[in-house]
Amino acid sequence: MPVKGRIVRISGPLVVAEGMRGVQMYEMVRVGHEGLIGEVTRIRGDEAYIQVYESTSGLRPGEPVEGTGAPLSVELGPGLLGRIYDGVQRPLPEIAEAIARTAPHRRMFVERGVNVPALDRERKWTFHPGDPDTGKTLRPGDKVGPGDVLGWVQETSIITHKIMVPPGVRGRLKSIAPEGDYTVTDVIAEVESDGEVREVHMMHRWPVRVPRPYRVKLDPTEPLITGMRIIDTFFPMAKGGTGAIPGGFGTGKTVTLHSLAQWSAARVVIYIGCGERGNEMTEVLIRFPEYKDPWTGKPLMDRTILIANTSNMPVAAREASIYVGITLAEYYRDMGYDVLLVADSTSRWAEALREIAGRLEEMPAEEGYPSYLASRLAEFYERAGRVEALGSPERLGSVTVVGAVSPPGGDFTEPVTSHTKRFIRVFWALDTKLAYSRHYPAINWIISYSAYVDLVEEWWHKNVDPRWRSYRDEAMEVLMREDELQEIVRLVGTESLEERDKLILDTARLIKDGFLKQNAFDPIDAFSPPEKQFKLLQMILDYYKKARELVEKGATVAQIREAVGRLYVEMAKAKFEVPNDRLDQIDELRARVLKALEGLEARLG
């Protein structure tokens, strides 16, 4: 019997109801006459404290509150890809349609109290029994358990959606539907256990705050190629890894995250706009169907799910949106896909926690954030990973999590950034100074780090070039040395440096201009394939090594620059002048540069 109580207090997104004895912690409740969605966050006596996911304006004490008997859950099944949901998985286009039915001129606004299911109940999907990869088919009488693949549905042009036995269902298969068209609520199979028959549908629900089960968690080994040079070459992400991208406003967090969502080699991308700009979600929504997935050539939206709780939408739903997103990610991971989850921004999520905690009059820790901020962050990032999924056939899937952090005043010592650093393994620190000079992506190469360099080395050596690591490390050394030299330059200027050091400055500039800087809006430069990344770096460093030899033989940097002449500019521009399918031109340019230097060598004798 669901609990029924009534409102006694309203303060912003917090509602207190009495007569709620028997309600569960984190149970989803319906608040007021309009049935607004809320979640119980504290219970005291027969009073429940409820965070409400919609505007509470106009609510009055005395209005009813009803329990639903279940925690806040998401709907999982075919029809998720290509959609845009709000923070509690209501489809935004359908909300607009629903509003337009009663008030056509209000359709552009999100009004409250609109109830639309996440998955379309009418749409029919063609269900094919059997596993799509192995062809293995389950028959009545077979023993089945969670994760066993019953069949599949072609969800989009790129994603085959596996229909699996949901977690918690185990027994003998009593029946399985033949190939045909079904809605997500039609019975697709029956599983019998101890004389009890459980119906299995293409859709099931899962509570968002509970991680979905898997068999075993594995170490990440493969890089998640993103096409961004500074990331792939210097601070690589791994499939199943965790990363944070902190930066003050204007440093390019969102552009970098969009690039990740657009270009990375993930099969499914979940993009959570958590307390960010409305136009940014609109941009993704309008552009992604036009863009092609670089790995399959199909529309990008066919692999993407958007969760949008923009900054002006109710704050409590911001808190939920992160959990909704990661639950969807785990679901596709369980099918055996590599999923990338992008959360922009975790700081807004933390602020939502802070706001709710403040209304609950909890004792604040640093900067007003609740003391459980760190443990919540840890729980979230721990849901990432490469796993062996439950069920048969055996499959590996991964969830890679990248969270943006928006530190106030760009200060990385603030609580959200500093706690996040404890739980992630890749740190892409965005730098205001780089952004001011329009060096994008403004990832600072001195303070950023990746713990996956050793893990992904093997992949690069096998698939691109066995010298990858040595080139990468040497380039890093040049950049580090340049940073030290800049300190000296600030005191004495460049002219009084030794030639060897001048060459370092010169090379570092070439690495920055010709490699690190990348234009996300240039048709060629936006995506740099791994081979191109390697060849560009190889070209620059071979130039550097040869030039260093000459300097040791007495040449000056001025002579070297004169010898290479315009080739220097060509090296800097190769990233966007050389098409990605004509990489031989980089080799050719490299040969010309080395030849010019050999000419100088000959002249010097």
Binding site: P61, N279, T282, N312, R354, E355, R438
Partner: protein, 463 residues
């Protein structure tokens, strides 16, 4: 909603807050009328309801309010203002009531000032280039229709002059239609208000302008309503009357200060520097009311102005604003002191929607490349300038000295312009090429070869 109910049991008065007991069925966010024993009426709204107790925020302040004899009427609805096309050309107070001596507004509709969040799935992406005639903006921080682009300023800097210049010159190329301007004065000084009023009168723009005015000596709590009232009218004009509306909100610092005051009165747990933890969400509920909507002709472009306390861009108000708005135009005291107008610090400025509004068919094919190169070169020039101050110019290489010259010329010729000087985008870009041509050609690493051949003065047969 229920009808009007009246109560008299005021148990506590604290700052702008009244605590009223013995109430029943009071709604959160409901609007309230407070009648003093003298017969004076003030307005307020419900901030919290707890069983039979309501906490009411009084807009005009609680000075002179007593616990006895005060009547509190709950009006059973949220704060609404009338909206109508006839409001253009009129001047209102911060709550949307006429103060220009003209007649009451014949409402075409009444709307809740709080508005409702725009559905991201119903938004259209802003991409129409607005030519402001200001090179630093058009060339390097392009504004597009439906964008929210604030001016970060400091006290004494010419932000008002710049905002007025933009309001006067802003056009979308190829369209005759002018912007309707809605001007919200939030706690500003009387002379600032006069400046804008005179400006709109002189330019003859007043009939396309609606002003909502809350002056510095008027009640602070009304500042929380003023921008919302202005935006409520803007939404009506944009989405029901197909108008392109430019909303100027000045000064958002005063708004945030009023919010802090109410938060302190409620004894809330503060975030940074005493501002409430929800300052971000609250500011967003204002700034996000800009944009374009699918299937609607009109648009709302926002230009909030805020003065950074102590010129500190990391102060919570500019900081949180920058996280919400689509870029920022930052004014620099240093440039201002050197007599440069507009004193825009382009390095710290940014327009996030620029990329959508520029390029072939919109401005010119070389726009993005020129802008990138100007940024890269100027930032290097500025860096070298501070280096030269320490080690002397002679310790710099020849190329570096050219960068110094570039930085000076950039500020003198590209950045500087007259208050009435209205440059076309072509003029701006050509000027950009001219100053870039000070540098050796191989320094132009951000520009593709073919564009250099086409636009560089050297190849266009110029000196």
């Amino acid at each position: 909603m229920l009808g009007v109910r009246e109560y008299t049991r005021v148990s506590e008065i604290r700052g702008p807050l009244l605590v009223v007991e013995g109430v029943s069925r009071v709604a959160y966010d409901e609007i309230v009328e407070v009648e003093l024993p003298s017969g004076e009426k003030r307005r307020g709204r419900v901030l919290e309801v707890n069983r039979n107790v309501a906490v009411v925020q009084v807009f005009e302040g609680t000075t002179g309010v007593t616990t006895t004899g005060t009547r509190v009427r709950f009006l059973g609805k949220p704060l609404e203002i009338p909206v109508s096309e006839d409001m253009l050309g009129r001047i209102f107070n911060g709550l949307g009531e006429p103060i220009d001596g003209g007649p009451q507004v014949e409402a075409e509709e009444r709307r809740d000032v709080n508005g409702a969040p725009l559905n991201p799935a119903e938004r259209d992406y802003p991409e129409d280039f607005i030519q402001t005639g200001v090179s630093a903006i058009d060339g390097m921080n392009t504004l597009v229709r439906g964008q929210k682009l604030p001016i970060f300023s400091g006290s004494g800097l010419p932000h008002n002059v710049l905002a007025a210049q933009i309001a006067r010159q802003a056009t979308v190329r190829g369209e005759a239609e002018e912007f309707a301007v809605i001007f919200a004065a939030i706690g500003i000084k009387y002379d600032d208000y006069l400046f804008f009023r005179k400006f709109f009168e002189e330019t003859g723009a007043l009939n396309k302008v609606a002003m909502f005015v809350n002056l510095a000596d008027e009640p602070a709590m009304i500042r929380l309503i003023t921008p919302r009232a202005a935006l409520t009218l803007a939404e009506y004009l944009a989405y029901e009357r197909d108008m392109h509306v430019l909303v100027i909100l000045t000064d958002m610092t005063n708004y945030a200060e009023a919010l802090r005051e109410i938060s302190a009165a409620r004894e809330e747990v503060p975030g940074r520097q005493g501002y409430p933890g929800y300052l971000y969400s609250d500011l967003a509920s204002i700034y996000e009311r800009a944009g374009r909507v699918k299937g609607k002709k009109g648009s709302i472009t926002q230009m909030p102005i805020l003065t950074m306390p102590n010129d500190d861009i990391t102060h919570p108000i500019p900081d949180l604003t920058g996280y919400i708005t689509e870029g920022q135009i930052v004014l620099s005291r240093e440039l201002h002191n050197r007599g440069i107008y507009p004193p825009i610090n382009v390095l710290m400025s940014l327009s996030r929607l620029m990329k959508e509004g520029i390029g072939p068919g919109k401005t010119r094919e070389d726009h993005a490349a020129v802008s990138n190169q100007l940024y890269a070169a100027y930032s290097r020039g500025v860096e070298l300038r501070s280096l030269a101050a320490v080690v002397g110019e002679e310790s710099l290489s020849e190329v570096d000295r050219k960068y110094l010259k570039f930085a000076d010329e950039f500020e003198r010729r590209f950045l500087s312009q007259g208050v009435r000087e209205n440059r076309t985008i072509e003029e701006t870009l050509d000027l950009g090429w001219e100053v870039l041509s000070i540098l050796p050609e191989e320094e132009l690493t951000n520009i593709k070869e073919e564009l250099i051949r086409k636009y560089h003065p050297k190849y266009r047969g110029r000196p």
